[in-house]
Subunit: 330 residues, 2 copies
């Protein structure tokens, strides 16, 4: 199945002509606690395994989309984006999936509420917000699962940014990906706090998609990844159901390290961690050894996201300067 | 089989009473190019897989052993070692395997020619030198394979320090380990140079033996390690046979990273790398990207051993200050 075919199947008989002036939507950033690492279908962004994330309430992308005759126009944080930038081209290719005819353009105004340089991926919240905004503009009224699938065609992890709280993105088994979407978990962990620790705001050397592809194709350790994720998801589910912060932190940290381990063993190696990342990991371990409830996770980059509890925020902020603390369920 | 039973089987009818004043021997340090990581038998130091090393000619341990009535006496680099130190106790437990009766003591004078703080393990060369010295003292005249097996009972990787040049330590399949010993390869790579880069001379937090045990028992990625080693050994054999430095460097570096990856995924994580190790790895990658023939390997610690070619030694020494260069076949 191509992306265009998948989008057509999703939209069914729904019209592709805007029914209102503009669509406007917000979608949150999500932090993977059990990682998405490896695609079973590159075109449709279908993952090898399920994954689990926590959304950061109120932190994400706000997007307005309206009809615009002629080539698409994109602004990012208020600044016009040249049509030949990679980001504008990626958006236009995504808009190709829904436009009524090749000359039907869109004006996309997108604003990331992500703290500047916090090392948070914005493509997940960005494609989720754009998808919701498009849904509103065209009056599609898509079901949550369909919104997730459509967002996934833009960026895999966007499938998880369509809901608040804990979200499980199911890998599904169908070739057309119609059973691969994000579903919110009912359970909450009100006291959970996420600390954003930026050790480098530089662009990473290798993007997630080629890094995943290289790891899956060349890392001799990747074969063990799917089984590991299955077991980690069981543990994470049990931890969330029991409201057990420590069990959740433990499995999230171990899962992140396992993901980076599969990358380090790729040939050639994929190393996202910087010396400063290692120093920060060691700092977290030292604090935990001293009794502080703190764990880390690390995505495909050098920055750490810390998991801690509300009552610990002040002490952690003192111990690790430069931390930005977020209440995910706020 | 216990260690004592294995030693008895090895020595057969040979006498345990010294036949001369003293035994004196040297054994070289060895650097694993395809790592030994995981024991199939803890008591006998039997490895899960074969491994491959290069000995550093002239760098290692020189040991003199003589008969001494009463408790064992040990000097290390000319200094007497208290009997209650971990090192002295480990030596005495090893000497238990060969002494004629419980009161038959030894005087062991051992000297490491390993550059101070170079981050080179001395237990491999130490037990190999002691084994050779004991062989001489007692006039056993053991075959090379038997010397390797006896040394292995002291420290696993000592099985490889009984010969110069490239050495393959076979895992063997027998429960008694009589087919698990080091064998030298005939092929040489005269231009090979090893650069010793010490990023920390601190004692490591976790020793190799508990680190191996934890990785084997808890790392979900360890299952892939034995197959990976088998494939890496085939590549390393082919590279050595072809005299292909780059192919050997590539597989040695990838194998070391895979070993560290299995550790990082252990639960709890085993992380030998320090921030400075990562910085040094990145420096090697930068130099290689600029065309310099240089690769690294890293044992169960933070320090790097660089592989390079003779004609490159001056340039590498300039690029990476503090490097100590060794000619392994000198």
């Amino acid at each position: 199945l191509t992306r265009a075919e998948a989008a057509r199947a999703l939209l069914g008989g729904r019209g592709r002509v805007p029914v209102r002036e503009a669509g406007h939507a917000f979608a949150p950033v999500n932090i993977a606690l059990v990682k998405y690492w490896g695609k079973r279908d590159d075109a449709l962004n279908l993952p090898v395994t399920d994954s689990l994330s926590i959304a950061l309430a109120g932190i994400g992308t706000r997007t307005t989309v309206s009809r615009h005759e002629g080539p698409d126009r994109v602004t990012l944080n208020g600044e016009p984006l040249a049509a030949d930038t990679a980001f504008a081209q990626r958006l236009s290719r995504y808009l190709d999936l829904v436009r009524a005819h090749p000359r039907a353009g869109y004006q996309v105004d997108t604003r990331n509420d992500v703290p500047t340089g916090a090392g948070l991926a914005s493509s997940a919240s960005g494609f989720a917000a754009l998808t919701r905004a498009l849904d509103q503009l065209h009056g599609w009224n898509l079901a949550p699962s369909a919104l997730s699938i459509l967002a996934r065609l833009g960026s895999g992890s966007a499938a998880r940014s369509v809901a608040d709280g804990f979200v499980r993105w199911r890998a599904g088994t169908r070739d057309d990906g119609m059973d691969s979407y994000g579903e919110p978990l009912a359970a909450r962990l009100e006291d959970l706090r996420i600390g954003l620790l930026t050790v480098s705001a530089d662009e990473k050397a290798l993007g997630s998609t080629p890094a995943m592809a290289r790891t899956r194709a060349t890392s001799p350790l990747y074969a063990a990844w799917p089984g590991l994720v299955e077991s980690d998801l069981r543990q994470a589910d049990a931890a969330i159901a029991a409201g057990d912060f420590h069990a959740l932190g433990r499995v999230a940290e171990a899962n992140a390290l396992a993901m980076h381990a599969t990358c380090i063993a790729a040939r050639p190696a994929v190393l996202f961690l910087l010396p400063a990342s290692l120093a920060a990991m060691q700092a977290v371990w030292r604090l935990r050894a001293e009794g502080m409830p703190v764990y880390f996770t690390i995505d495909a980059g050098p920055n750490l996201k810390l998991l801690t509890l509300a009552q610990n925020v002040a002490a952690l902020g003192t111990a690790i300067p430069g931390l930005r603390i977020v209440a995910p369920f706020a």
